[in-house]
Amino acid sequence: MPASIRLALMLLPAVVVLGGLFLGGLVLAIIRTVGIVPFAGRFDPTLEPWTRALQEPDLLLSILVTLWVAAASTLIATALGVGAALLLHRAGGGRLVTLLVQFNLTVPHVVTAVGMAWLLGQSGVLARLAHGAGAIDRPGDFPALVNDPWFVADIVAYVAKEVPFVAVVALAMLAAVGSAPAITARCLGATPLQAFRHVTWPLIRPGILAAATVVFAFVLGTYEVPAVLGPSHPKALPVLAYQMFTSNDIADRPAAIVVSLLMAAVGVVCLVAVRRLMRGISGLEVVR
């Protein structure tokens, strides 16, 4: 049937490329952690990389701080993003805010990270302002926000980057839902707050949660932000994985993959969650 052949031809390139590069890379990564490297002709099944990775002294701590950063960034960015969207939707803030929100979306994370280091560092802009205001004397008096064990600047950088993202998604959801359901609720006697809580919020929630999940998974796997703003101990997982991968001991490579697979596993769980949440949201479900 020519129609089905045409359809297959439309899908095939993308499926082959994504399957080959993404799935292929993932599968190669997995089998390499058990001693199989097909393209180098190596086949000596072993679990050594797994024991090596799991014996990495900082691993547990790295997992914990990475989850902390991802959870904190996601929570704060989602709350602020939804709040900003509601304000923009109802109150408005002029062209400038609009432009900044959109502009911020296009900025590479590494630039935000570097800017944040120069803003929040102990001799950064904030510290200088604090000095100017007479609050501190020497740079060391300023609280350590950059490369600190709590990843404060790291989290702030993610929040600055992801608030616009959540806000844009939330605005799109608010526009899609429209004001009719809320107005109907008001006519039936709901206060504005009740109308939001019982009508508007349940309608936009799936999109917001999907966006939050994407943020969470993204923060989990991003290298450059904790590389600039995180402490050297404990390291965020992507930093730990990268440093193990590029260490002088070549035997660390498969173990590094094990570490990155741990992140990928969390990512897969997030993927399932996003799929669930996006069901019924226009975007992918666009078949007529």
Binding site: P13, G25, A40, G93, L100, L271
Partner: protein, 287 residues
């Protein structure tokens, strides 16, 4: 990273703008002002550093202005012009390939039901949610073997992983807003399939697809971890070279590079706003 947002209505920009035009209360205004500060603050030191070398603690404004960062950024020895060219080349190539593979798939997802559709959807969403490090590490051995590791083509291939899903999602939303009845109408009026493509489909979809391409460009442009791993550190793009200068303690040059790194985004915003505004003006339908 912005892919998911773009899968939702492309008019988000217009929505933000329309919403922003309404009157406001004092509390709302203050909250938005705070948001604005958060959004702008990181760029202040970046811009300031790009025009000074002498900005020592506790000076709030730099002691002297100095544009030498910009001269060194534009001198061949700094490696920045080469990195700029490399970044543009990589992002253009990755975007081109992603469009080539992604637009037809977007159309298929938008307009057809087929068996295995859910699997394709999962495959498309996966690279957006599953961290790329493991994938890049898995590809690394193969790329080493076939001589792609540490090369521009290797990095381009790797960049297809985050850009392709993006192009597929955006073009799916473009196609789902496209009335294929117009193509039937054109055929019925006597246009051959290639005439339909040239006179109807392409002109109507061009604005949306152009915006998809612009933002795919930005996705590639912003990549860091993938470039670092697959490029084995030997393919310094703008984000990578920015880090090199930060690590080397040259805040002034790093500031200038950061400004340059942000520019394509600004350009893309202006361009996409123009493209969409022109398309909207052309197609605005009376209701």
């Amino acid at each position: 990273m912005t892919a998911f947002g773009a899968a939702l209505p492309r008019r988000a920009g217009a929505l933000v703008r329309r919403a922003a035009a309404r009157p406001q209360g004092f509390a709302a205004r203050s909250a938005l002002a705070l948001l604005l500060v958060l959004l702008v603050a990181p760029f202040l030191p970046v811009v300031v550093w790009s025009v000074t070398r002498a900005w020592f603690y506790p000076a709030i404004v730099p002691q002297t202005l100095d544009l030498s960062a910009w001269t060194s950024v534009f001198s061949a020895t700094s490696g920045v012009p080469a990195a700029l060219g490399r970044s543009v080349l990589i992002a253009l190539s990755a975007t081109g390939l992603a469009m080539l593979f992604g637009v037809p798939a977007g159309r298929a997802l938008a307009l057809h039901r087929f068996p295995g559709r859910r699997l394709v959807e999962v495959l498309v969403l996966a690279p957006l949610v599953v961290p790329p490090l493991a994938v890049a590490m898995g590809l690394h051995a193969v790329f080493l073997k076939i001589g792609l590791a540490g090369t521009v083509p290797g990095v381009v291939l790797a960049h297809i992983i985050p850009t392709l899903p993006y192009v597929i999602l955006v073009s799916a939303s473009v196609f789902s807003a496209f009335d294929t009845g117009l193509e039937d109408q054109a055929r019925s009026l006597g246009a051959t399939p290639s005439q339909v493509l040239r006179h109807v489909t392409v002109p109507l979809l061009a604005p949306g697809l152009a915006v998809a391409a612009l933002f795919a460009f930005l996705v590639s442009w912003s990549q860091y971890g993938l470039t670092l791993l697959v490029g084995s550190g030997r393919v310094p793009t703008m984000p990578l070279i920015l880090m090199q200068f930060v690590t080397a303690g040259r805040q002034d040059v790093a500031g200038a590079i950061a400004v340059l790194t942000v520019l394509p985004g600004v350009l893309a915003l202006v361009l996409s706003a123009r493209i969409l505004a022109a398309a909207a003006a052309r197609e605005r339908t009376t209701s």
